[in-house]
Symmetry: C3
Subunit: 269 residues, 3 copies
């Protein structure tokens, strides 16, 4: 299965680069610029359209939608809900990134509403997924206080309950649909030192599921492998978090399919 997945994700990588899917990203103020540059470099044009006056209309045009709750306010929450409903109506996949959903009542309430709208994929760090899966998390702010391994059971529970793909990202990523599950290694320990890296990964996951809505599990694995491969390469030339950030975007742009395939480290569980 691992060999198959490496080939499948490499094929998805090539297809995403060739297709340039339009991805609507409703993400936080901190991440908007970096996520857009990551998507463009990876091969998918982003569109940041968030207000309820147009978010639903645009979700019907875009090939996929991603929603990240990093910096909420009422207008944005309304826009997220309108966009997710429209994506559902149009049969378009959508990805939820429930940033620090446990930190305040407002975040919890918003996340509960969004989960009712059946995200195709849920991506979070270990603390976020543990808390969604009903466990006790050590998270406080936006960073994870827990290792990925401790979130695997919660991820399976959440995936089954939500009939969604769940991705837990961290030192080694974990993806499950409730039954199947894989780990993706790679990346760099500089990644958590840069803000918006997880948000950008959520956006990229949207680009992959846009071109393979019927293979959401494989699309998620491909997005994570793309990040892990580019991150590992970028770390070789970085002097710190900011030069890593630059090398990473350059690396996403110059990456090719043979390098993707040779460096993707996907292992079945």
């Amino acid at each position: 299965m691992t060999t198959d997945l490496t080939q499948t994700t490499t094929d998805l990588y090539e297809r995403m680069r060739a297709t340039n899917p339009l991805v609507q990203c409703i993400t936080n103020y901190v991440a908007m610029n970096y996520a857009a540059n990551v998507l463009l470099a990876a091969g998918a044009p982003p569109a940041m359209v968030h207000t309820p006056e147009e978010s639903g209309e645009f979700a019907a045009i875009a090939s996929a939608l991603t929603v990240n709750i990093g910096t909420l306010s009422p207008n944005w929450v309304e826009g997220m809900i309108a966009a997710a409903k429209s994506a559902n109506d149009a049969g378009k996949p959508w990805v939820l990134d429930p940033v620090a959903h446990f930190a305040t009542g407002y975040r919890q309430g918003t996340t509960t509403e969004l989960l009712k709208l059946n995200p195709t994929i849920i991506r979070g760090n270990a603390s976020e997924i543990i808390a969604l899966g009903g466990g006790q998390s050590a998270g406080q702010g936006v960073d994870s206080g827990d290792p990925v391994e401790q979130a695997e059971d919660a991820a399976r529970t959440l995936a089954t309950a939500q009939k969604a793909i769940v991705a837990v990202t961290g030192e080694v990523d974990f993806v499950t649909d409730g039954t199947r599950s894989v780990r993706i290694a790679g990346g760099s320990d500089l990644m958590p030192k840069i803000t918006a890296m997880g948000c950008a990964l959520t956006a990229l996951t949207g680009a992959y599921v846009a071109i393979a809505p019927d293979q959401a599990f494989e699309a998620t694995v491909a997005a994570l492998a793309n990040f892990a491969v580019a991150g590992e390469i970028a770390a070789q030339s970085a002097n710190g978090p900011a030069s890593f950030m630059i090398a990473f975007v350059d690396g996403l742009y110059t990456l090719d399919a043979p390098t993707f395939k040779a460096n993707a480290r996907i292992t079945a569980q």
Copy 2:
């Protein structure tokens, strides 16, 4: 005429760098940081003041206003309108960047309102200008689906109807006042791979028209030439979009008038 324009735009370049005009930028969330850094590096202090509670008051203080509709919401639209009205009342020039105005009804309606307020300059990509000029565009998201050449007639029509300068930017830029028109070559094919590059150019156009409100045509050409020259130089040291983005800002900062003049490629049509 071309030789004259090269000298005229070089003079404007020197004057802008010496004058440091204060430019009010109402732009989208994605572009705000990069546009501000581009303006600062080029020589003009930016001020991002958008809310209707103060946008009009500030437009009377600033030397020029730029309005970009990339990430709309009602508070911002109200602030744009208040600022444009105030700029008009105070006799200050203002620049409109109608990002993907054709994508949703909300964008169309907002653009219609803003066009009634007589922008001094309208800058867009080919798809945006074709759609404004009454043509059939291939655009969908924020990127142009059309080449600049196909937008030249629409640009002339729009310039005449609006009594405005119209700039179509792309591989080779095109500027017209309805009668005169020029092309500006240069730049890099990495530019469309970086988000907010067009938005930053709109902001810079504001800096030029701020110091030459009676020469809006020449000011627009100067801004585009400044971008094209700095872009061409930056591309020589870039490894990809992100390192280009950095080299470009550095290059705007270190550029001087002789280099500007020697590398500006402006041709009359």
Copy 3:
């Protein structure tokens, strides 16, 4: 006293890096990404939580709060006030950055409201502090039109009136509690050429006062010294403002206590 302060601030530096305090930053759209990356690189996880629906709840969780009025709108102003009140109720320190508060009536009114909520520290450029201290400033936009030296009396007056620490940043920074005062040298003349640098410094001041709420004066000096030392080092490898911006974040990340101590230039007044 200077020698003591160098040792004290070095100790605070080490403690901040070891403690990783959670800092809630309500800052402007332009600065959000850069301020977050500066905090992360320096050692403190940031959380950008601004809307009144959750800003107060989160301020009770965070170790410190910073408020920057760069890009205001009603929802944000309400969120700032709710967060500052909650920080006060929870006994958490908070830092105010009154960006261009003199530019419009809306900014003036907001700043008056925020000053009533007793910020622990006020950080601004010379024009901003002069205007707050009742003087006549040459400021117009967001950049200072006055040298730091001319703001020293206003800073002392403001510090005494507000019972707050006041920091005036510029070529040589000045910090006072109304009685004691010091200057901090260092940094680079590229710093004012990058947007959000002052906003990021405000955020970092929050990280220091978070771990030493009873030493707000020393914490402020430590934050400014951290910036000045990292800035001076970054300038050595920069080609312009953007490469400086990258080298600065890398430098904050790789800096260590001996380098901090050896390069901090703090002189008592």
